[in-house]
Amino acid sequence: MEQFVFTFFNAEIAGRYWQDILRGMGVTVLLSLAVIAAGLLLGLLLAVLRATGQRAATLAVVAFADIMRSLPPLIVIIVLFFAFPYVDLAMSSFTATWLALTLVLAAYAEESIWAGILALPRGQSEAARSTGLSWIQAMAWVVLPQALRMAVPPLTNRVISITKNTALGSVVALSEILNTAQAASSNAGNPTPLMLGAAAYLVIFIPVVLFARWLETRWRWKR
């Protein structure tokens, strides 16, 4: 037991590295927020684009969503970061990680929101159109508010699991929590910093899941 504590919860080593982890936490929080905001927004736009029913749009959106959901995000990050400079599109590690995760989240969000749109009775948009609302108005005021609520539970899972992937930024030199923790643990020859990192993740993500739960109960209106 003593050995266990020495190895995984070593106070002396924790004291040496907690500030680094804290700094990494700042990066992770910033990146996560950027990914969540941009990913959900892009997903929403794509779902709306698909809802227009244009064949070309549908095809493009479906292809995008398929590919992004099939590839491990790490690979997307590596390609964005290392391959794009060759075509004169260099981006920082933060940007590359952000972009990759945003695209992946957008793919999932698009699918979830689209499923929500499909699940709505057709009567909803018909009722709206019959009072003279335009297509986009019916979308904005009647269809999307309901579709989004339906998409909350599946999206929560995805938002969390994809945002946790911010850790992948470590391969492209992004000093987020996990990168910092792994480096520290290797320097110290002790995995305690990894545990600090895990704690930092909990601090960040527990509020996210609680918020999602709150949203879900608040938005669960009887049908």
Binding site: T7, V171, A173, A183, N187, G189
Partner: protein, 257 residues
């Protein structure tokens, strides 16, 4: 003790530890480990794994020691018990082929350096960035760090001389340049409480140095004949790395069979 020695390497560290495409592992440290086991009269099992798993694995007694190249540093010496060094670890810069060579550390001002995560080079960069006025980025493995140089994200990659030489050989787009003498060594790492194991391995290392076996392995993988005072051929006095925690200065006469 009769069972096989269990140990692990991070197999992304050519030419010290890397995969064979047909299966299995190869490299300087692999040969070192096998020779060591032979001399200790044991079999050896070497696992390719992530660097993050090595030290926890050691402490959890999954591994008897860490065979992967570990640079002996004061911080690490507080957490692990080192044998004496088996190889000098000097640092060499890798730049784009045809780029302007680096002739001194002063020239690093304003440049960006790429290093491998959790390596001694990262520590070195961390400690010297302010002094020489450069920036550094930390990558997932050294191949990525070299790729960063190639795609123009970093001006130079800093890695162990052996590793840098391998990278330059494999990848025609980069070349080695300036080397920093560090005085640091690579050593085998044991659990803090496993002095016996450390001493036995240390003893075997001394023998391997004295009879030139280690030097031959170095020549095989690095392609140069070591200088007579190089760590790879010159046995140390006591057990461990002088100046670090865990050093036992009592002179040892190696018992070789």
């Amino acid at each position: 003790q009769t069972g096989p020695l269990r140990t692990g390497v991070d197999a992304t560290f050519a030419p010290h530890a890397m995969v064979k495409l047909g299966g299995g592992l190869q490299g300087f440290n692999i040969d070192l480990g096998e020779e060591l086991a032979r001399r200790l009269g044991r079999k050896i099992e070497i696992e390719g794994t992530e660097f993050s798993g090595l030290v926890p694995g050691l402490n959890a007694k999954k591994y008897d020691f860490v065979l992967a190249p570990v640079t002996a540093t004061p911080e690490r010496a507080k957490a692990m018990l080192f044998t004496e060094g088996y190889l000098d670890t000097d640092y060499t810069f890798v730049i784009k082929k045809g780029g302007t060579a680096i002739k001194g550390l002063e020239e690093l001002k304003g440049k960006t350096i790429s290093v491998n995560k959790g390596s001694a080079y990262e520590m070195w960069a961390h400690d010297n960035a302010a002094k020489y006025g450069f920036k550094y980025d930390v990558y997932g493995n050294n191949a990525d760090a070299v790729q960063a140089v190639q795609s123009g994200r970093a001006d130079a990659n800093l890695a162990g001389s052996t590793v840098a030489a391998w990278a330059a050989k494999q990848n025609p787009a980069v070349q080695t340049t300036y080397t920093v003498k560090t005085g640091l060594v690579w050593a085998l790492a044991f659990r803090l409480d496993d002095k016996a194991g450390r001493d036995a391995a240390g003893n075997a290392l001394k023998c391997m140095k004295q009879d030139g076996t280690l030097g031959k392995i170095a020549q095989k993988w690095f392609g140069y004949t070591p200088a007579p005072d190089a760590t790879v051929v010159k046995a140390g006095v006591g057990q461990g790395v002088p100046g670090l925690d865990g050093y036992d200065a009592t002179p040892v006469t190696p018992k070789c069979s």
